[in-house]
Symmetry: C3
Subunit: 484 residues, 3 copies
């Protein structure tokens, strides 16, 4: 609240008052912009957090009923365990004020007591996303302790270091002078999750029965296409926090940038790429398999959304269309390749997030426009842009280094972890448990307990003798006379 002022006390201009008033107004304008940006970041972060719900529903729908509680719990704990790891260590590694090109090393457990809590919140939601992606690749046969271990490790160290490299002022942020550019995290988030998932899927091995004796794929459908659709829609919705939110502000704070137009462009290109990839998948699968394949189309949409994540504010709408279409092909190709290699990735997390994330990071090098880089606040005066706009290969080269470095780093850290866990017999659940399902043996019962379902027979019987009632209740039931 800025107070009104009378600049003409006694009819003459009080210049001291004027100077103060104008600078108070300067503060007021800046304060409004700053508040608006925090508001924008918080609500964008809320949407990214909601993606946990989307992943949970998508994963649940994609597995068999016998493992439903197991995958749901893993998704829930990605948020919880990941938060603890990111709060204690991760944020410090990623954005600690004391830092070197490799990692940050201060502000442990938010101990610096700074006023950037909204930044912590937003960044945590991204860490949680990276961790969640992995759970899909290793679903239905991985030990719970192994899962807890890698979720903590990924959220607390693997991902934060990568985000420091690209977004926290680390070595990739200025490589080849132009710096690797990955707006909302195709390499930083999706590749980390997707490649960690790939390592897991390879090392833990396929689910029992996924490939038959001749190596042919045996269909192993999840238990609910409705949950998959719900999850995908929620993820799409959450992506509007993920991509436009990565503008990290909505006010036009800087004279060189237009954050408002940047965020709006992100919303549009994200939508176009997701929709285009969905339509592409629809057509290709219809031609190939002669069905309108809902589940593959859902994954195609997710692939389109991943594909545009790295470049969303820097490309034209038509380019978003192209990036999304190619993203759908990358996803379908990678999915086919995994099956040909007998790698079982139940959620297709590597094709969607790993392979398509890689494509999206590279697409920046082809489609980014200089003026849009400026507009997003990534500007510089050096004329670097995508190959297709005559920018030469420097941006592309920087991003190629980035994808190689991030894939390498992720595999380098995660693969040994999974291998060691496997060697000591702590990676995969026992065969009998896998056949029976995780839920009964580890989680106290089925996700959909038969006891909770009333059947025609039970009603036909109309007897209460087998209901195990408390005798006192039986003798004096409350409300017996109730009309309702």
């Amino acid at each position: 609240m800025v107070d009104p002022v009378d600049l003409l006390p006694g009819g003459t201009l009080d210049t001291g008052l004027l100077n103060t008033a104008v600078n108070t107004l300067v503060d007021g304008v800046n304060a409004n912009a700053a508040s608006m940006d925090v508001f924008f970041i918080l609500f964008s972060g809320y949407l990214v957090f909601l993606m946990q719900t989307g992943f949970a529903m998508l994963t649940a729908g994609s597995v068999r009923t016998k493992n439903t509680k197991n995958v749901l719990l893993k998704n829930v704990l990605d948020a919880c365990v990941g938060l603890v790891a990111y709060y204690l260590f991760g944020y410090a590694f990623a954005y600690g004020p004391s830092s070197n090109p490799f990692l940050g090393h201060s502000n442990w457990a938010l101990s610096d007591n700074t006023q950037d809590f909204h930044v912590f919140f937003f960044q945590w939601t991204f860490a949680a996303t990276a961790a969640t992606i992995v759970s899909g690749s290793v679903a239905e046969r991985t030990s719970f302790y192994a899962y807890l271990g890698y979720a903590f490790f990924l959220s607390g160290f693997v991902y934060p270091v990568v985000s420091h490299w690209v977004w926290g002022g680390g070595w990739l942020s200025d490589i080849f002078t132009v710096g690797a550019k990955d707006f909302a995290g195709d390499a930083v988030v999706h590749m980390v999750g997707g490649f960690a998932g790939l390592a897991g899927a390879v090392i833990v091995g396929p689910r029992i029965g996924r490939f038959d004796a001749d190596g042919r794929v045996v269909p192993m459908p999840g238990h609910s296409a409705t949950l998959c659709t719900l999850g995908t829609f929620i993820l799409w919705f959450g992506w509007y926090g993920f991509n436009p939110g990565s503008t990290l502000g909505i006010s036009n704070q800087s004279p060189d940038a237009n954050y408002t137009a940047t965020a709006a462009r992100c919303a549009v290109t994200t939508t176009i790429a997701g929709a285009a990839a969905g339509v592409t998948t629809l057509i290709v699968i219809k031609l190939r398999d002669h069905i309108f394949d809902l589940l593959t189309i859902l994954n195609g949409i997710l692939a389109g959304l991943v594909a545009i994540t790295g470049s969303c504010p820097w490309v034209e709408p038509y380019a978003a269309l192209v990036i999304g279409i190619i993203g759908a092909f990358v996803y379908m190709g990678a999915a086919a390749a995994l099956l040909a290699l007998k790698i079982d990735d139940p959620l297709e997390a590597f094709p969607i997030h790993g392979a398509t994330g890689l494509w999206g990071a590279i697409a920046v090098g082809f489609f980014a426009r200089e003026q849009l880089l400026f507009q997003s606040g990534y500007g510089n005066d050096q004329g670097w842009q995508g190959v297709f706009y005559g920018g030469g290969g420097r941006l592309l080269a920087a991003n190629l280094v980035m994808v190689v470095a991030i894939a390498g780093w992720t595999l380098f850290l995660i693969a040994p972890l999974f291998v060691v866990l496997n060697v000591v017999g702590q990676l995969r659940i026992p065969r009998e448990m896998e056949i029976e399902g995780n839920d009964i043996s580890k989680h106290g019962g089925e996700a959909y307990p038969p006891d909770a379902v009333i059947t025609e027979e039970m009603l036909a019987q109309k007897t209460i003798d087998n209901l195990g009632m408390d005798e006192s209740v039986r003798r004096d039931p409350s409300g017996e006379a109730s009309a309702v």
Copy 2:
């Protein structure tokens, strides 16, 4: 970011500096307002997009399991195919800068490269809503190609032209000087969807078994009341983007209008109308059918939300209550009428969106208050308001022309399309497929595959012989020793 300034360098006022500083502040204040409005429009659009999820869940829950994937896919593609159509043509027809009273004809595929991407995004979400409504009316027996055709046509042409008429400066926007007024689209969106759905439901005919040999209605319940409830709640939530978001800004940019108060009023009237309609339906159905009918109450709530959509910022809270209550009766009456006419609209999309949308558009002519029209930025100085506030019938007349024109336009374009598709045998799926369900024949299997459900018998058997396992996995299972 506005920089501080010293207006008194050397102790005396620098008037040139002052003039610049004050005008920089003017720019800063305006920029903050503009950024805030884009922020508001984007997030409102996100909520409207989420309504796709709501429709998907509501539709899925309202059909039988055998068609679940089919209806889910149609909902998914409303967003995807509709986006392609709206991006390529629709937005140009609706809001192209080059326009005539009938349609716009420029900015194809966003080629003008303007900075109004947030407007495109917001308007697309409305187009997707109109398209989605239709799918409910023709669910469970309509050809997939027919569906793809009308979704593309509706999103790319039918709806955009209507929106141009009322919101894009077309002929209805200034009819009878006052102009037809439909704030968030009772006629523009809901009637288009509802009447297109009616045409479809009539022409495609009822589902097999919906009416018995004597013409009596056979109950044909959907498979999940939970999904219907989830969908309805998500739609209600999304409506807060649809109605308050249609303020198209939240800052008080204009001296004559108060967008802030307008948006807040929309949120309240929307809530009141939806809740009042829900309670009304509860009471009426209890009195009529002697049950507390969850599914009808959910539809009643939706009818209340539709009813207030056209007038939400222009009416008093008590009027919202009345509009919602009448909306519930309109919905229930139209639903009964359809059944009496042996028209099978599985989602009751016409009663909810078509008939109640018509009521909502007309209600503007009765309940709109002049001062609230001013407040919403629709003001003029001519004293026009609703009949109940002494405004004469001019506003009502304009809106009556609007509903007739929009119903006529929609039926005029959509009915022939459906008739032609029917004549060439491309509208309705074959009888055998309808009985079997769409999912098995066209979508590669059931939404809830029995294979994905573990049963007591399977567990009792505890054998893996019939699991089609890969022999190599059987011989050397990973992690056999795992304790978890």
Copy 3:
């Protein structure tokens, strides 16, 4: 929109113009801040409203299929009936401008026609939350009319009066000079719901079969862990409206407060407490029961979110961790105590909301920091803060009075209502209806009708004779020739 101005017409400074311009800018800055705050409150309110969806899904998943429609309808009507009650009376009791220390008594049905509709909207979503909590405690065996009665009473009177005491300038707001402090409503909202639920659960008695003849607990699992997870995630998401939204603004309007930092801190502490409680529950239940218990962990997360609700802007991150961990223990302890006392609270609403809400309200007295109270706009100059920061016991004492007063008030009003209903036989449904379930007898059929599920047998039969078809449809099926 502020217009540019030329302060130097003819080259000399027009001081009158300058004075006007500067004050116009003052108005513009303030208007932007005010609009932003309304925007923030509206969207926060939308999130809180979405919590209804979360409660509905959580409750549905926690009951048996035979009562699913019943609990869903109760959740739907919490919003609808609660809105009517809060609109007509509740808001006036809570925040009516004419008021005394006990209650407000003006602005019935928003009749004052003020511009605070966003406040009404936000406050209503809190009233709906309080009402919804109760429905979990009395699920599966309570009369529908009894439910309608207490929902109306709670939303229209019990809760509004409490909110007046603490937030509306009532007697608790300045008790012991410092005033009871409950930021987002641990006592005001969660305790009201939780204690009303406790009264209901005790008086209505346990569900048939919940305890066996020897008083041992019989497991009575709900029908879908997936719905429980969905509901919990949606609640967590909605909590970002509940807690940060309770800042009631995001701009830094006051020189003494920083609303922006306050809201951001709330988001972080809320996340930390929820996650910490989830991890705590994971570990404790694993140690105690030897399972990774998804459902208890979900409730643990909710308990963590409740625990931090009262103190979220006033505590350090480490304190949020501690408050969440203790909250998990309070929840688990209260849940065990209820079972030991043979009280059947199907959703554990009292342990989560009542007991943990009480803990959260008391935690304020231990962990609140003075500087953070100032920052949130609750500041004063008297040096009061939590016991752990040397603030003495005054704040703790005020909050202890608050929790006693609110628990007493709620029980004092609700318990007699339930007792009277019970005496006249209107509280509990008849025994036969309870065994059969509410849905078939009162709600027109099952939530998941067997008729809507296609079975292998039905498909194998491939006959339509038993489908009750309309003969006219049979003789001339539309689209028989369709290829799709």
